[in-house]
Symmetry: D2
């Protein structure tokens, strides 16, 4: 759900720009390809809940963002992916340190696209997500 | 998933403290009761995605937080709710302005609690969520 | 997702016909209205898992069916609702005896409709569901 | 969620017995291993909705069953897996003919286990599922 500055030619650098909420949070696009995207994120103390583990909402933000990026590698210029349903399954607690977030399109229909994402820390899965995106025309 | 400063006697004021990620984001507890909780949130420009609508990750953070609060009205001092699965259904785009977020426990078993949340803006639902929480012992 | 025999004028009786899988399972439409539908179902021994409780797949069938019915009260003749994502939360075990299953449309967009369903037995909730439906043109 | 006849020594043959709802529907266990399980299923006309495609409830039954099988390869004799939340994402319509259904445990905690399942037909994914299981003591 991270968008583009229309004046910049490079999608990757563009998507990595700190324009939206996910960029401000610290998510950085590492790579995008045909239906896939990868984000890097450094979990800091400001991303924890008071119990001292990574807040579930940060994880949700990252997977929503990486899947939106993955979808956008498959959409045209006039199209905007909008998340319609997002399910995050929390596998184990996250902690301060680097995270790797990978998203990929599972299937793209005419109006609906289904994606999947994995979040790993130190080589172990900490969350899995699936989401349905509607492809809207840019108004 | 917002915790408590153990030195403060009042759960509500306590939960509203800007300690964790959700507090820092700007979520404020309005009310908690027996298995229910309400948050107030003011959507600002910093919470938008570049398309100009409320980022899905902010919504996920708010519903995860309000449901965690609702669960915590039903747990003992040594117990911490941890989200195991969260499904957010996005009903319509959110925009700058006040949001109301309500969570409630649907059922609480011995080890597992199921909650529901609604997010409204200007009297219309913008998101719905269900989540399963595991109740962990505080280490 | 239960369809219609095009020759019958009454949608309710029509939808209740034992044509599809859900009808054959024993689901019966009790009522449909503007964006809502109700099914009655009698849990028999054949619907149990070997642990002696109602199989989660029967519950999923019922909620998918009732939400499809609810959607169809809002669609035109050439449109067919297709479930894109379904989340069922199991609140407590079901057992032999009557069930009441209610579905309702939460919001209907141009291409996407979001529904909710509740399953009750003896006045207590045994499951809750949310689903996203795509509205397809009948080929 | 398919159980065992306690008198039979072989888990696989046992799980394949037509005792519960999934067995009666026609699901057959092909293989189980350490945290994984595979079902074979033949879609017949009786499993379709009136639109002529595989009913979403049949898919939900199969994924719930295969994930329950996968969990049971990791549980003790006195433990019963109970689905707490199930999300099925429908990728494309199923039709009459053979299906392959694979489930695997993603992580197993003390009280909670998270699984994933894929449903394929003719080598293409038709559904994906994630579920959270609580592990209950057999009464």
């Amino acid at each position: 759900m991270v968008g583009r500055d229309r004046g910049t030619p490079c999608r990757m650098a563009d998507d990595a720009a700190p324009g939206g909420f996910a960029g401000r949070l610290g998510a950085r696009v590492q790579d995008t390809g045909d239906g896939v995207a990868t984000l890097a994120f450094e979990v800091g103390d400001e991303h924890l809940n008071p119990a001292g583990t990574l807040h579930g909402g940060v994880v949700a933000t990252l997977v929503d963002t990486v899947m939106g990026q993955a979808v956008r590698t498959t959409t045209g210029d006039g199209e905007v992916p909008a998340t319609s349903q997002l399910t995050v399954t929390y596998l184990r607690p996250g902690k301060p340190g680097p995270l790797e977030v990978r998203g990929r399109v599972r299937t793209r229909g005419e109006h609906l696209t289904i994606c999947e994402a994995d979040v790993e820390q130190e080589g172990r899965g900490i969350a899995h997500a699936v989401a349905t995106f509607a492809i809207l025309d840019r108004r």
